[in-house]
């Protein structure tokens, strides 16, 4: 082995506290060291040229650069070595700046430590082996999970760029929460008017394959090469035969089921299309409500269907899709106060679920929406009366660690302002009251919007909390405090709307586990870096966008969806991917096939494999690492009882050599 050691002064940074010349001299005599030099700036052009010249002339087979942190310049020096024909994985760095010169001011001790650090690196590099980057092919086809506005945007962007997209939606129609909103802040444009054309685009796009009423069952594979199993739930309607005429749902006798789309504010039949603009505009039978499916009695829809599209024998189907990248856009739900358990249990004082006229923000959206159960006329749920006084309460379940979530739900300040405006525009003699903690209206035209609600539409804003809501003869008595006035106050209201916290949609934790991505204590999916990698996750090829990552409004969700789409396109712009070769490998000769590593691997990157002879007879079983999936954490190395797994770049030999150099 011919190792070159290059000690950098980093100007004064290292040289001030470390005697670099002395270091270079001490290292020169180590076994295997061919040359040891020090220089003012190793990372500079002349510094790198000098290294390259030494590699060339000294026929170096290994390199140690004693300078800053490997997180800073390891790539730089590996590139320089590669340019000279030396395998980049034969380069190691000794961190004598951050871990030595910058933290120790006793020159003698710092110099001695620097020598130790370099000796460790030299010991390691002696055990290094050339490694080649791993190449994996890319399936240029993406999956988007969730068909709300974020999923729709991501799917359209990717498809418009020329790649195929598989869009998986849990509900019978795409559209998500946005399809149910009345009008949107801060422009008050109609939500459906802007969303439904995009839904149609998705439905008609030649490169988008839509699986509605479907859920992701399992995810296998790795970046560029995922195999996703999708469960298509039994719809009991053959959507290839159905033409969406409506004869079935118009005749269905089971009319009293609460509509999910209306958040329980309206009713639907057992065979139903969630809303008229649904994509696909094909019905589905609710297996919990249909008497034919439950008791074998009825079947009116099948008799009315002229195309024979109804199939009561329908079964769930499992299908597999090959994709190269996955975008999770599973969205949110509102904190279901009164029903939620554990940390979210609280707010019994607001009587949500006890009093019919205490509703949440999304329910209010439906009763102001022109497409809603009241046709856009504001009527309260209990008796259909037009409410003349409405109280809106902000921060219910959010910004409240004691009985809800600690985070700010972000969109409520804005939609509450919007609600007060919509209410005033429809009930001119009505009065809206808002109890708030702070008004958070950061965003383009947002603050102006809130001012309009207060100044033009006369919403009464009270800074304070509500302590209790009681009901007397059909009237809600809201007791709260206005901390700016400094007085307790009581408002008689006909309707109370709670701005409940946004929480991630149900089942997101199990999806995250299937995708092998992280989620926080509330269940929001974790991005790879909060600032610099906001849509990537810690699993390569899996991206997140929209409210499944954190509370977000529509503009932000859409922007993030386009960002995720751009990341997918970056991935698909290449025909194959290269990955760091610092991955684990099993010695199949010594593997005892206990498969502890298979269970321990955080990436499910190790499989159980058979070794057979030419006749196909089993010789032995062994663990086998899939290098495409392995992220190189090395957990398997520490787990393996027979020491049959090793991690390239951090092999047992390398690590022990380093420890042994410390004598």
């Amino acid at each position: 082995m011919r190792i070159g050691v290059f000690t950098c002064w980093c100007g004064e940074n290292i040289a001030r506290h470390v005697d670099c010349q002395k270091v270079a001299e001490a290292i020169r005599n180590l076994l295997g060291v061919h040359c040891s030099v020090d220089y003012k700036y190793m990372c500079s052009d002349p510094g790198q040229s000098m290294i390259r010249e030494q590699i060339r002339n000294g026929k170096l087979t290994g390199l140690v650069v004693a300078a800053c942190s490997p997180h800073m310049h390891l790539k730089t020096f590996r590139k320089a070595a590669e340019a000279e024909g030396l395998n980049p994985y034969m380069v190691e760095m000794a961190n004598v700046r951050e871990h030595c010169a910058w933290v120790h001011h006793d020159r003698e001790a710092a110099t001695a430590k620097a020598i130790d650090i370099i000796r460790m690196a030299v010991a390691k590099v002696q055990q290094n082996r050339p490694l080649a980057a791993i190449r994996v092919p890319v399936t240029k086809r993406a999956m988007v999970i969730g068909g709300g506005v974020a999923g729709i945007q991501a799917a359209l962007d990717i498809a418009d760029a020329g790649f195929e997209v598989v869009l998986v939606e849990r509900d019978p129609s795409i559209g998500g929460k946005m399809a149910g909103l009345s009008e949107t802040f801060p422009t008050l444009d109609c939500s459906q008017c802007i969303l439904t054309p995009r839904m149609v685009d998705v439905g008609q796009h030649p490169r988008i394959k839509l699986h509605t009423y479907s859920e992701v069952e399992a995810v296998n594979g790795y970046v560029g090469n995922f195999k996703v199993t999708v469960r298509k739930k039994a719809r009991y309607v053959d959507i290839t035969k159905c033409n969406g005429c409506g004869d079935c749902w118009n005749k269905c006798p089971q009319k009293k089921n609460l509509s999910e789309f209306d958040f329980g504010m309206g009713k639907r039949t057992a065979i139903y299309v969630p809303f008229p603009q649904a994509v696909p505009a094909r019905p589905v039978i609710d297996r919990e409500a249909c008497t034919m499916l439950l008791k074998g009695k009825c079947g009116i829809c099948a008799k009315k269907c002229t195309r024979g599209a109804i199939n009561f024998e329908d079964q769930d189907q499992l299908i597999t899709e090959d994709v190269g990248a996955i975008v999770a856009a599973t969205g949110y739900k509102l904190c279901d106060i009164g029903k939620d358990e554990g940390r979210y249990k609280g707010y019994g004082e607001y009587g949500f679920g006890r009093y019919a006229d205490v509703i949440d923000g999304l329910q209010f959206e439906r009763i102001v929406s022109a497409s809603g159960p009241t046709g856009g006329e504001i009527k309260r749920p209990s008796d259909g009366k037009t409410p003349k006084s409405v109280v809106f309460i902000c921060c219910v379940g959010s910004r409240d660690d004691a009985k809800g979530c600690g985070y700010c739900s972000k969109i409520c300040c804005m939609y509450v302002a919007k609600h007060t405006m919509l209410y005033k525009h429809k009930v001119h003699d009505g009065q809206a009251h808002v109890f708030y903690m702070d008004i958070r209206a950061g965003g383009k035209n947002y603050e102006e919007f809130v001012r309009r609600a207060i100044e033009q539409d006369g919403a009464e804003y009270h800074r304070g909390r509500v302590s209790r809501i009681t009901e007397h003869n059909g009237q809600l008595i809201v007791r709260g405090v206005d901390t700016l006035v400094g007085e307790a106050m009581t408002i008689e209201a006909d309707l109370v709307v709670l701005a409940t916290a946004m929480r991630p949609a149900d089942g997101v934790e199990s999806l995250a586990q299937k995708l092998n991505i992280g989620y926080d204590e509330y269940g929001f999916l974790s991005e790879s870096h909060p600032k610099l990698r906001p849509v990537e996750t810690n699993t390569a090829g899996v991206l997140v966008c929209g409210a499944c990552q954190a509370p977000k409004d529509i503009p932000e969700s859409v922007a993030q969806a386009s960002a995720a789409a751009a990341k997918v396109m970056m991935l698909f712009a290449r025909d194959e991917l290269t990955r760091e070769p610092e991955v684990a490998e099993v010695n199949e000769q010594t593997c005892a096939a206990c498969f502890s590593c298979v269970r321990g691997c955080p990436y499910k990157a190790i499989d159980e494999a058979d070794i057979t002879d030419r006749q196909g007879r089993l010789i032995k079983r062994t663990a086998r690492v899939n290098p495409g999936l392995c992220m190189g954490c090395g957990t398997c190395v520490a787990i393996c009882p027979s020491k049959s797994v090793d991690l390239a770049g951090f092999t047992e030999q390398q690590v022990y050599a380093m420890v042994e150099s410390l004598v």
Partner: protein, 279 residues
């Protein structure tokens, strides 16, 4: 079955009807009460608003006696007492230093390990099934408004008992007796408590609100599990009626009264005849 019993000042004083009721009722359910030897006041509001050390030391002394006598579970029918005992017990269990300090002050070793229960929790421990089996006279005519007041469920972090804003545990027991539990507004509002001494107007106002709402929701009696609530709703009811010019005539029962009566105990036996408002 035996359980420790901490009566507190009220049950040996103005609310001795509550004590009689608890003893008779639990006795019929086979529960023997072992009164804590040489107990002292829990400190109540007076101690915790003036002197934090005293507010821990008083209950700590009671807990120390319980530990010494091998009582691992103790009923404190007054919510103020149970709250103070639980709070002190938790503080003791959490801090080594406090245990040492308090052991020194009360001159006995104290660890805070004794479980302190309110009346509802004791019924829960006995179990609905056993209570149901013991019912001989289902209270089919009773429409009860369960009134928890403030201290039975608060502070929630420490008591960890029921939903502090919309509790339902008392209702569950009432229903087991064959009675109807009506839903109403002021289950956990304050009755005015000790204000009854210094600011009677406040108490009368609060009591009036509570009594009015109870009636408006169709109840024919109120059930409480707190001596203070009982005083303010029962003893003060005549004052409320006089002040507001109304007739409430709303009987106020302790939870143990109703359980006892359903099991066939007589009102007189349990001190119900000592209530001011007669059913």
């Amino acid at each position: 079955m035996q359980i420790g019993y901490y009566p507190g000042c009220a049950l040996h004083g103005s609310s001795n009807d509550y004590e009689r009721s608890v003893r008779v009722c639990l006795g019929r359910l086979g529960m023997e009460l072992r009164e804590l030897d040489d107990w002292v006041c829990c400190g109540a509001t007076a101690a915790h608003s003036l002197n934090a050390k005293l507010a821990t030391a008083l209950p700590a002394r009671n807990l120390a006696i319980a530990e010494r006598d091998g009582i691992d579970q103790m009923l404190a029918p007054c919510p103020m007492c149970s709250m103070e005992l639980i709070k002190a017990g938790q503080a003791l269990a959490a801090s080594d230093a406090l245990r040492r300090e308090m052991s020194e002050i009360v001159e006995q070793k104290v660890s805070g390990a004794t479980g302190v229960l309110n009346l509802i929790q004791v019924f829960q421990q006995i179990g609905l099934e056993r209570i149901q089996k013991a019912v001989v006279q289902p209270l089919s005519q009773t429409k009860a408004a369960c009134y928890y007041g403030c201290l039975l469920v608060r502070p929630p972090e420490q008591l960890r008992f029921d939903d502090c804003e919309n509790p339902t545990s008392m209702e569950t027991i009432i229903k087991a007796l064959g009675a109807e539990a009506i839903d109403w507004n002021y289950k956990t509002e304050c009755c005015g408590a000790g204000m009854t001494m210094c600011n009677e107007d406040t108490v009368l106002d609060l009591a009036h609100k509570i009594l009015t709402d109870v009636a408006a929701h169709g109840a024919n009696c109120v059930v409480v599990a707190c001596p203070m609530c009982h005083v303010n709703l029962d003893m003060k009811q005549a004052d409320v009626e006089r002040r507001y010019g109304v007739t409430h005539r709303m009987p106020i029962y302790y939870l143990s009264d109703l359980v006892g009566m359903a099991m066939g105990a007589s009102g007189a036996e349990m001190g119900v005849d000592r209530h001011y408002v007669v059913a």
